[in-house]
């Protein structure tokens, strides 16, 4: 182990500026993904703030058409360009080879290709923004998406291309995990983050082709009028929803599983204790990945789907609760008798536990058939998935970014600022989204540009909350950028973690390790070993 030397030796400084564009180094590709997706996060976040502004009070601040475009782009950008790629493609890319003790991912060139595919697809979608926009909602439901006069083709093609990028990333990771583990790194010695990434990769490979061909069929519907989903030509619009959700429901787990993986890392490191129930957490990731393929129909309980399908999907959906609950139980139990330190990553991890628990429990309402009939497509659903996606994934992501920041850039973020922005985001998040549960229960439908005056109070509260989130993120981006240049130098292992990525320099050298490490024990061997 050696200290990062100034000016040469680490992956950030090797080669000039232009070498970044042709780099095959997984760390650099990861960093490029990180900045690109965070940029999209800012754009999507601005759209969110505008949406909340429109909903501050009844009446129209923007025209309904503009509002429809706002929520469409908010959804599409946040989902396809931020939350799906960011953890696997940015943090996963950076840390997967480091954590299994490899020099790179299995197919570095494919890795770069998938980054450029992502950029290409994102550009297509952004081009739509400047050529009339899109007003279909991110779900592209037929037949609305077949009739809409807006640039649906551009966005769907963008989704298709980005889908391919996601497939290639998943494929790359699966092969890497299977074939490139360091000597001694058995599956059961892998950090739980990698189990999560592996489960995610399975979904990416198996589910993404379905959305790929489905959006392509939407393009074909518009160009060649093939009519699979067009009732005017004899097709069935509900069939589109099936294909769409066959991907998009597992996609929710593409988003949340890596977040869960990060929590497993952070919780153990900051309570300096072995994870409670390693095997259960590892296999529950796989179980979630598998079950996630069988539950998509709960998005369609009132869509005109057959009662039999409703029955099956309702009971299968209930099953997801079990592995998820085991995870939450085990993370909580890990804290027991630990030695807990409340640094920023841990604060985010604890926020994850609170918010994700709420998100998960509210899922029970939506999985129950008769209750979902009322709650479906209301703000209850909006609040539920923001609790899961933002309260879950984004909190996990922020925990991960802060946790690995010293490793990625060799500098610490400012601790006090980190805590302040964590507090702002946590508070703002709850103020924004808790009222939405109540609004949904009162029957306020989603995607409404204007609403009945009786919903005003809680909408105002919600909008005010969104400003706190906005302030929190603004502060966070400011101090993170500041710390890139002025932050305190970080040591190789500032948190005293045991996983492999901390066994090399900060930032890591070009080929990750001086010598490929040999693994002799599991990743969480903290504290006192029990003697047999």
């Amino acid at each position: 182990m050696h200290q990062a030397t100034q000016g040469h030796g680490n992956y950030l400084t090797e080669g000039g500026f232009w070498s970044w564009f042709t780099t095959l180094d997984h760390k650099r590709i990861g960093v490029m993904y990180l900045f690109t997706t965070l940029a999209f996060f800012i754009v999507g976040g601005l759209f969110a703030v505008l949406i909340r502004l429109e909903l501050f009070r009844p009446g129209n601040l923007f025209s309904p058409d503009l509002y429809n475009q706002l929520f469409t782009f908010h959804g599409a950008i946040m989902i396809f360009m931020f939350i799906i790629p960011i953890i696997p493609a940015a943090l996963g890319n950076f840390f997967l080879p480091l954590m299994i003790g490899a020099k790179d991912v299995a197919f570095p060139r494919l890795n770069l290709t998938s980054y450029y595919l992502f950029i290409g697809g994102a550009m297509l979608a952004v081009a739509a923004l400047f050529s009339g926009g899109v007003d279909t909602g991110w779900t592209f439901y037929a037949p609305y998406s077949l009739r809409s006069q807006t640039a649906v083709i551009l966005v769907t093609l963008g989704v298709f291309v980005m889908g391919f990028s996601s497939i290639l990333t998943g494929l790359n990771f699966m092969v890497t995990i299977h074939k490139l583990r360091a000597p001694g790194m058995t599956f059961h010695r892998m950090p739980l983050f990698l189990w999560a990434i592996y489960a995610t990769a399975i979904i990416q490979v198996l589910a993404t082709p379905v959305i790929g061909i489905t959006v392509l069929l939407i393009v074909m519907e518009r160009v060649l009028q093939i009519g699979f989903f067009d009732p005017k030509l004899g097709g069935d619009p509900v069939l589109f929803q099936h294909f769409f959700w066959f991907y998009s429901h597992p996609a929710v787990y593409i988003m949340i599983l890596p977040g869960m993986g990060i929590i497993s890392e952070v919780v153990t490191v900051f309570s300096r204790k072995h994870i409670f129930g390693y095997v259960a957490i590892a296999y529950s990731s796989l179980a979630i990945a598998f079950i996630s393929f069988l539950v998509w129909g709960h998005h369609m309980f009132v869509s005109g789907q057959s009662p039999l399908a409703n029955l099956l999907f309702s009971v299968l959906t209930m099953m997801v609760a079990i592995p998820t609950a085991i995870k939450i139980f085990n993370w909580t139990a890990t804290l027991y008798k630990g030695s807990i330190q409340l640094q920023t990553p841990m604060l985010y991890a604890l926020s994850f536990l609170f918010l994700f628990t709420i998100g998960g429990l509210t899922g029970l309402f939506l999985a129950t058939l008769s209750v979902d009939v009322h709650l479906h497509d209301t703000y209850f659903v909006v609040a539920h998935f923001h609790y899961v996606m933002m309260g879950g994934t984004v909190m996990g992501l922020l925990a991960g970014i802060h946790y690995w920041w010293p490793k990625m850039f060799g500098r610490m973020y400012p601790e006090l600022s980190g805590k302040i922005s964590c507090f702002l985001i946590f508070l703002g998040f709850n103020v924004t989204f808790l009222p939405q549960f109540y609004l949904g229960r009162l029957g306020m439908p989603r995607r409404y540009a204007d609403y009945d005056a009786s919903f005003t109070t809680w909408n105002m509260v919600s909008t005010i909350g969104s400003w706190f989130i906005f302030a929190g993120f603004l502060w966070m981006f400011a101090y993170l950028i500041w710390s890139l240049f002025r932050g305190e130098k970080a040591g190789d292992n500032p948190w005293g973690a045991k996983t492999l990525e901390w066994q090399t320099s900060s930032p890591p050298q070009v080929y990750n390790f001086e010598k490929i490490p040999e693994v002799k024990e599991g990743p969480y061997h903290y504290g006192v070993m029990k003697t047999e």
Binding site: D104, M174, V175, I213, I226
Partner: protein, 214 residues
């Protein structure tokens, strides 16, 4: 490094050539999985509409030419055989035969696409087109255009895969001719082979589903 394998060397992040080969192969299999699901959606649409309107499928499939379909099936099966032979020969350093076999495979692809071309032009001429453009007069079932949407989407997507496969074969053939492959390194031929067989495998299902189930 084996001299037989020409200029090829193991990428730096792999320990052994075997590890590199296995990784590439697993990657290819995973890619095939995505291909199967890509086609799977179309098969699924086929099954749904066929289940709902069996009599329409019966009527529509009579408009397809069984002989042409069967010929294409045979052509693809033969090409699969020659591809397997090519892989085998390339692995055993028989460059000349391998190139010859690849050439036959490529030529089979050409025949396949030519027959496809004649089928397409005939359908287009008759107006048996995807739903919105369908203009064939003598139909009894209103939803018959859906069958031809399926026909064109499925065979079209398959045709694109054939073309991509032909491109790959051409590329491998040139490299093989230059002596890039041998017993130590033949990953590209092998992967192209697997891909080409999958294209064949999909056609094996497409043929009876579209042409035969009357």
């Amino acid at each position: 490094m084996n001299t037989q394998a020409g200029s090829h060397s193991v990428p730096h992040h792999f320990e052994t050539a075997q590890q590199a080969f296995e990784s590439a192969k697993l990657g290819m299999w995973l890619f095939l999985v995505t291909e199967i699901l890509l086609f799977g959606v179309l098969f699924c649409i086929y099954i749904m509409y066929r289940g709902l309107y069996p009599e329409m499928f019966h009527e529509a499939s009579l408009h397809l030419n069984r002989v042409m379909g069967a010929t294409n099936t045979a052509v693809l099966l033969i090409s699969s055989f020659t591809m397997a032979m090519a892989v085998h020969r390339a692995k055993h350093d028989d460059r000349v035969t391998a190139v010859r076999m690849l050439a036959i495979t490529f030529f089979c692809g050409v025949i396949f696409m030519t027959i496809k071309y004649f089928e397409y032009t005939h359908k287009i001429h008759e107006g048996l087109l995807p739903a919105g453009m369908f203009s064939y007069d003598h139909v009894t079932h209103v939803k018959m255009p859906l069958f031809f949407s399926l026909y064109f989407m499925m065979t079209g997507l398959h045709g694109i895969h054939v073309l991509v496969g032909m491109g790959l074969i051409l590329w491998v053939m040139v490299r093989c001719q230059r002596g890039a492959f041998g017993h130590a390194y033949s990953t590209p031929v092998e992967l192209t082979g697997i891909y080409w067989h999958l294209v064949d495998l999909i056609w094996i299902y497409l043929f009876p589903l579209l042409y035969l189930i009357g």
